[in-house]
Symmetry: C2
Subunit: 149 residues, 2 copies
Amino acid sequence: MDSRFTQLINKLREQGHRMTPQRAAILKAFTENPSHPTVEQVYEQVRREFPMTSLATVYKTVAMLKEQGEIIEISLGAGSSRYDAARLEPHAHLICTGCSRIVDVDDSQLAVAPEYLAEKYGFNLHSQRVDYYGLCPSCQAAGQSQNQP
Amino acid sequence: MDSRFTQLINKLREQGHRMTPQRAAILKAFTENPSHPTVEQVYEQVRREFPMTSLATVYKTVAMLKEQGEIIEISLGAGSSRYDAARLEPHAHLICTGCSRIVDVDDSQLAVAPEYLAEKYGFNLHSQRVDYYGLCPSCQAAGQSQNQP
DNA sequence: TTTCTATTGAGAATTATTATCCTTTACACA
DNA sequence: TGTGTAAAGGATAATAATTCTCAATAGAAA
Ligand SMILES: [Mn+2]
Ligand SMILES: [Mn+2]
Ligand SMILES: [Zn+2]
Ligand SMILES: [Zn+2]
């Protein structure tokens, strides 16, 4: 069974997207980083292998992945957006308001059934987001002051 | 029983915050608008009564309310943040990816129990956010193109 | 190879939010 | 009812994230 990275490459190729070394490196960086990196962080990582890469290219790749539904954007109030292209299935996040660490929640039965909501409010749902905000263990230990979400 | 607006005014007064006409108008606009307005929208509304009001003042008020935990910020990927100071108790949102309308979900049993997560991952939770993304009835009718969250 | 056009890189432009800094004013108290 | 003082306001500059622009480059189909 192919890795998420390989599957994604194949899918994009099939859809007629060209595969450049920069794009492949960006896709690899996103799909193989489980820590919900920012665009800037992926840019820094890709630059180590391809120093000529532009930040704009990373942004363009993210836009393309969003169109394809192949990346989840986690926009917090302050600072830059975080992304998860490693795990696409719906999952909740634990977000530390001290250090901004984002941890995947693996086995949660995610919130109420969307079908029920679709009917009650007439919405046609396609995705969801569940965040829990709090302090991670190390920030608790450090007695960090917390900036509410 | 006092309105949310009156209660908030009283709480802030007790905490030593001064109550200016602009501030009161901003608080009224936020607490009595259930449509999750942006800062800009509240600014426009307040300006109708107090034309001299500055946008910066609205931002400062929002910052103060965040510190007090008296406003919920809903930061979406694009555009400006949306706010809910009308309802503070935890509740989920239906967010239309066609027109950005945000609707409160009233009677949902919100997601999994935070206590369970706190134990499993060592997080000390203080708030949560549950969003459902989809198309609202009118955007479905209009066959709107949707920009994934 | 040649051709065609998607993609890239560099930097400008845009947008939302925050910071600055001087003025105004709420309000505790005389 | 005045006064002092620090909080709050107004105007605008600064910052930060993201998007746009456009000429140059390079996948990939023929
Ligand atoms: Mn995740
Ligand atoms: Mn709400
Ligand atoms: Zn932390
Ligand atoms: Zn809509």
